[in-house]
Subunit: 192 residues, 2 copies
């Protein structure tokens, strides 16, 4: 584990996702690792922290999530734009070398097999909260966050520090077809 | 209707929400209008376009959504930061003058009573897709988008143009406690 990666208290975990970044969804089942990109991930609750993510039936990652009941949501950085686009446009089903060809390396928390993508800014390890109707009708999956980490070079003391970090640490926000925006400048709402 | 507000084709409506902005949720029921802020809104499907939004049981807006079966999701701009913070921190239940005091003005599409917040960058009118278990267990509401509009000064021809528009048009992305980030600069992922 990189010395810059620090645990995030669970009561602050929603802050990692609250600004709506595009994420990477990773999972492991029966010896197979995979990761995909997803723009449709969202916080759902504070305590215990929960989130939603949409996983299309065509994705190989979805089968790993359903098989293992676990997944990780992580935030790729502006420096990982090409990696994000690559894992979002290649499938392990048609391209067995997807991970190597996309430049993905994993790290693991202690002896956990859940694959975490190296170089991201934050990670949320999740336990699937089974909701078969949502999964079948809407491709909508609910996860309860069981652990979270962030790179202290961009998130520390419960706050993002995008404005002080190197621009390659900015979160990325997909629109369509390879068009993204990086997160921008901080704004503070005064007391109303 | 402002001359700058143009319809967005339903097959492009997901692009209004894909980059994860904080939104305003408005509704009308039996003579009562209200609007609240929500960071937890997310696209759910392309065609027909659907979205999810989390509405806490304590909110007055939720009762209007449940009563009428309709709501609108709209994107406040950086210029509406104070308005967004105000409608997110005041409740119609304890402050009957909430809307006036927060500086909210509505517009309406033709003779529809659904209130749309003036000055936003985009609007999605939604029909509630009733899912009582999600609503009760998770405060999670699903909407099907029935119409969408955007201000052509910042979204036109199916694309956001934040980088060319006045900075006050940027979408805003809440972290916690009045701390927001504006959306930043465009990035283009090359062919992998």
């Amino acid at each position: 584990m990189d010395r810059h990666i620090l645990p995030v208290p669970l009561d602050k975990a929603y802050r990692l996702l609250n600004h709506g970044p595009t994420v990477l969804v990773s999972s492991h089942h029966e010896g197979v690792d995979n990761v995909m990109a997803a723009a449709w991930a969202c916080a759902l609750d504070f305590a215990p922290p929960k989130l939603t993510v949409v996983l299309d039936k065509s994705t190989a990652t979805r089968a790993l999530v359903e098989g293992s009941g676990r997944f990780a949501i992580q935030l790729p950085t502006a420096g990982q734009l090409a990696l994000t686009h690559a894992v979002g446009n290649r499938s392990l089903r048609s391209d067995p070398d997807k991970l190597e060809r996309s430049g993905v390396a994993f790290w693991h928390a202690q002896d956990d097999r859940l694959p975490l993508v190296a170089g991201c800014s934050a990670w949320l390890a999740c336990r699937l909260v089974p909701e078969p109707h949502n999964q079948q009708a809407y491709d909508l999956f609910i996860g309860e966050v069981t652990a979270a980490w962030a790179d202290e070079r961009v998130f520390r003391d419960g706050h993002w520090h995008f404005e002080e970090a190197d621009p390659r640490w900015r979160s990325i926000h997909h629109i369509a077809g390879g068009h993204f925006y990086a997160i921008g400048e901080p704004m503070r709402a005064g007391e109303a």
